[in-house]
């Protein structure tokens, strides 16, 4: 955690900020979803409470908190209460392990009559060194929230919804993991920081023994793994249980699926979990295929030189530089979140057998093909 009280405090605060950031992003996303869907369907959406309807979600949260607390008569209270909490855990743990920006180097400074530093703060919750594998391991626990909710509610609709949801999640996890194998092979590592660093600068690759540089394209993973990116992004829709893959809560068939029996803030926690998964999926998409916190034309040195004209002092400069790259990543995440919402209100729902066919008979073979293709291309280009 750190050598002294200052570093430990900052690291603990950092984790709190990341967790609260996920939780606080949810009201904004719900607002965006409702206004966005209204825009797509030529309606107005919530626009009465506060400016542009932004306070509607605050009112909703208060309503959620003041609802009656109950457990279904045939339910099991431990699973019933545990499931919404469990829904939050995988998303927040996974998001905290993604590097959000370049590390901040802090020079020694004086405070309270003592000298602190030097420190290096990484812009992520913690650094386990195994990146992708950790995120896959943690997000595979997401199915338990659904299963616990389905079992704990003691209702047929909940149970059927939970079974559908978990079958879907484990089916698409295969395609999701396999589509990332290509990225692992291209970059030769599963360490997030190395993957992001490898995507800096202009597009560079080996072709027939020559090193080719295309200066007008960024060195992003999408140019090396277009098929992998497509499969990964589609599979994350299924993993987050969103349209067109939201079979677990198909209203016409299952009322509301695994959260039929939930009300009040417990229902809201499932909501936060779903949007948390969307955040993780968008951040991973940006990290693997769209250069992470890098942007064409922005180098750490260049940004640092720009800020040195605005503020004096190395520490302020380093912090502002890191925050600039944080903004770049957040912009990319915001774009993919909008794609999630856009797709939800554009495409209709799959039928269940079509969903399983797509997962097992289309995406899985194509992900395997992508792996083999990547291996062959890499073997030829490294000759």
């Amino acid at each position: 955690m750190g050598q002294d009280a200052f570093e430990i405090t900052i690291n603990v605060l950092k984790m709190l900020v990341i967790f609260l950031g996920i939780v606080q992003a949810v009201p904004l996303l719900v607002w965006l979803e409702r206004r966005g869907s209204a825009f797509i369907q030529n309606r107005l959406g919530p626009n009465r409470v506060g400016p542009l309807g932004l306070l509607q979600l605050l009112a909703d949260a208060v309503k959620f908190l003041t609802k009656e607390n109950f457990v279904p008569e045939k339910g099991e209270w431990f699973f019933y209460y545990g499931a919404p909490v469990m829904a939050l855990i995988p998303a927040s743990l996974a998001f905290a392990s993604i590097p959000l920006s370049i590390p901040i180097a802090i020079e020694p400074f004086e405070m309270f009559g003592r000298t602190f530093g030097p420190y290096t703060f990484i812009m992520q919750g913690y650094d386990l060194g195994i990146g992708i594998v950790f995120v896959l391991g943690i997000s595979s626990l997401g199915a338990y929230a659904l299963l616990m909710a389905g079992w704990g509610s003691g209702s047929k609709y909940s149970l059927l919804g939970a079974l559908r949801a978990s079958a879907q999640v484990i089916s698409y996890e295969l395609a999701l993991s396999l589509s990332l194998v290509g990225i692992l092979m291209v970059y030769g590592t599963f360490y997030f920081t190395d993957i992001v660093q490898a995507q800096a600068g202009p597009l560079t690759f080996n072709f027939l023994g020559k090193s080719v540089v295309i200066p007008w394209l960024p060195n992003w993973g999408i140019f090396f793994q277009p098929l992998g990116a497509l499969i990964f992004f589609s599979a994350t829709f299924a993993e987050t249980n969103r349209l067109p893959f939201d079979l677990p809560e198909a209203e016409g068939e299952l009322v509301a699926g695994y959260h039929t029996e939930y009300g009040g803030f417990k229902f809201n926690l499932f909501f936060i979990g779903e949007y948390g998964h969307m955040l993780v999926a968008s951040a991973l998409m940006a990290t693997f295929f769209f250069g992470g916190y890098h942007f064409p034309g922005l180098t750490p040195e260049g940004v640092s030189a720009f800020w040195s004209g605005v503020v004096s002092g190395a520490n302020a400069n380093n912090i502002l530089t890191s925050l600039t790259f944080l903004l770049v990543l957040l912009a990319k995440i915001a774009f993919f979140l909008w794609v999630f919402i856009w797709v939800r209100w554009t495409l209709p729902r799959f039928r269940y057998d079509h969903l399983m066919d797509l997962g097992w008979k289309t995406m899985l073979p194509w992900a395997l093909f992508n792996t083999v293709l990547t291996a062959v291309v890499m073997f030829i280009s490294h000759q």
Binding site: G129, F134, L136, G137, I138, I170, E173
Partner: protein, 179 residues
């Protein structure tokens, strides 16, 4: 002096042990399965305290994530009350149960005795998280060179199981009998 690593070990060991006991003591099969999930996660945590990050993550993906989800799903689909009664009765199954627990207990006791014979001053060098990639590379190069035979044999075994499962489900009879 209790270091952070020691504290984590005792905490995780307690969680793993208690949930493991819960697996065999709980009456409801669903509760047993969830207890098993908790003990799997506890074991993954112990791997983390040993700096085996990759093994910990694989433990989470394979056991806690895939195998146990299927277990829980299947248990939810069946009403296991009759099987529970059938399994709890009978002299032959009783002897078999005692025998298998006896063998398992003997193996465990022998292994605990073996751990005491190891030099207590031996402590593995803690690995830097940023070098987790290197230890993983070591594991994979061992798997594909020295232990490649065992690795491939396990692959064949899994293939046999998969084909066997497909064949069994195709045979008419049991729940799929044509009436």
């Amino acid at each position: 002096m209790l270091t952070v690593n020691d504290f984590l070990f005792y905490l995780l060991a307690a969680v793993t042990f208690l949930s493991g006991a819960g697996v065999i003591l709980a009456r409801n099969p669903i509760h047993c399965a969830f207890m098993l999930v908790v003990s799997m996660i506890g074991i993954a945590g112990i791997f983390v305290t040993l700096d085996a990050y990759f093994i910990a993550a694989v433990q989470m993906i394979v056991y806690a994530g895939a195998v146990m989800v299927l277990f829980v799903m299947v248990l939810m689909l069946f009403d296991l009350k009759h099987e529970l009664k059938a399994f709890s009765k009978g002299a032959i199954s009783g002897v078999l149960k005692l025998l298998s627990t006896g063998v398992l207990l003997g193996m465990l006791l022998a292994y605990i005795g073996y751990t005491f014979s190891v030099d207590p001053s031996f402590k593995p060098v803690p690995a830097d998280p940023q070098h987790a990639m290197e230890t993983t590379k070591e594991i994979s190069s061992l798997l594909f060179t020295r232990y490649v035979f065992g690795f491939e044999v396990i692959g064949v075994l899994l293939l046999v199981i998969a084909i066997g499962a497909v064949t069994l489900s195709r045979i008419s009879g049991g729940t799929h009998a044509d009436s």
